[in-house]
Structure formats: structure tokens, C-alpha cells
Amino acid sequence: MITILFFASFREQLDTESEQMEMQGLTDVGSVISMLRGRGDVWGRVFAEGQTVMVAVNQEMTEESAAIKDGDEIAFFPPVTGG
């Protein structure tokens, strides 16, 4: 199982704060993004090619190419705007 989190405008647009799913076929962050994009509709738009999507695995900022493993917490969010 992996946990996927969405923050800020992503959370609002997708109307989803978090979800859990089996690893089946997912190997890296990029494969998770493809799976989410494949849901179409608003998911397709948020995760469209060329959109700026930031990702953290287990609360560390990382890249699309990062491998994932069972138990990981994967978070997607737009560029940060604190401070």
C-alpha cells in the first residue's frame, strides 16, 4: 500500500485530500503521475504534461524519476508560496 496526499489547489481541484492504493505496477513517481493522469477529467488537467507538479516522497522533495516502495507517503502539490 502507498498513501497519496494532495495539497492546496490540487486538493481543492481534485476534491481529494488523500487516498491509499496497492503498489500494483507502480515503480516510481512518474508511474504514479501517469496513473493519476489516466483517470481523465480534472485529474488529466492537474497532471497534464507541462503542468508544474511538485512531489515529495516520505516528506522529502524529490523528482519524477524517484523510485517508490511499499509503505511510502507520496504528496503532490503546486509550487510553494509560504513566508
Binding site: 495539497f7 508560496t81 513566508g83
Partner: protein, 150 residues
């Protein structure tokens, strides 16, 4: 010695500076940045600001930034406190305060921490204006500010 805190309660910068100062009589200088909610942003009058964050990751990101500042400069103490939740114009959003024996290092470390916080700590601002509510866009100038430390 390096305090990092996220809070929903109003943030009092004076208290943070007093606590940092009380720490150590070897402190020769304290440089601080106080970030305030402005009443106008991009020509829109802002009435309320909502700050969302990613609990857990935020603290880790800030700890990493402060640790890097401590590696780069000789620091005697620091405090990074960020507010979340709803706030009003003139409210304090963030305080970054750095103490050192000599001022140059405190200036560098303080600016480094706030520059990195702006691009690497998971906070998001949503503004309420008469025109509606919308998420604040990331600024290119913040990306540039981060680059100068590379």
C-alpha cells in the same frame, strides 16, 4: 538553540527576539526578518489570508534549511516560526531570526533561510479579495533569490 515552530496562534516577533537574545551573552548581533501580511497584493485589496501547510514535512524542510545555514555560517542561535491558518492584514506570517558573534554571518544566514523557506517549505497561501478567493501564484523572483545561494 535552533527553534523551529509552526503555529496557528498569532505570532509575536518581539517574544522570539527576546528569547533568542536571552540565550547567550556572546551574541554580538541578531538579524531578523519579519514577514507581514500586506493589505494589497497585485493591486487587489486582500481581506483575509489562509495558510495551508503539510504537517510533518514542513518541520523537516525547515530543519534541513536551518542545518544547512549552520554548516555554511558561524551561528549562535536561530528561530524560525511560521504561522498557519487564517490571518488579517498587518499580521505576522513568519519570523526568521539569527544570532551570531559578527553581523555579516547573521545577515547571510537569515536571508538564506527565508529565501529557501520561500521555495522549499510546503506552505501555500490563499487570499480573499472582494473579487473572490484564489491561491497565490509562486513568484519567479523567489526562484531567482534561491539561485544566488548556489
Amino acid at each position: 538553540m535552533n527553534e523551529i515552530r509552526i503555529q496557528a496562534e498569532p505570532l509575536d516577533p518581539n517574544r522570539e527576539l527576546d528569547l533568542l537574545r536571552a540565550d547567550n551573552p556572546a551574541i554580538g548581533g541578531i538579524v531578523s526578518f519579519i514577514g507581514l501580511m500586506r493589505d494589497i497584493n497585485d493591486d487587489k485589496r486582500i481581506t483575509t489570508l489562509s495558510l495551508e501547510h503539510y504537517p510533518g514535512m514542513t518541520e523537516k524542510a525547515l530543519e534541513r534549511i536551518v542545518a544547512e545555514a549552520n554548516q555554511r555560517w558561524e551561528i549562535l542561535g536561530s528561530r524560525v516560526v511560521h504561522r498557519v491558518g487564517e490571518m488579517k492584514p498587518t499580521d505576522v506570517i513568519v519570523v526568521v531570526a539569527v544570532a551570531s558573534a559578527h553581523r555579516g554571518e547573521a545577515f547571510q544566514a537569515c536571508e538564506f533561510i527565508i529565501d529557501y523557506l520561500k521555495t522549499r517549505a510546503p506552505f501555500w497561501k490563499k487570499e480573499q479579495a472582494p473579487e473572490g478567493r484564489y491561491w497565490v501564484e509562486a513568484r519567479f523572483s523567489d526562484q531567482e533569490a534561491e539561485q544566488k545561494w548556489k
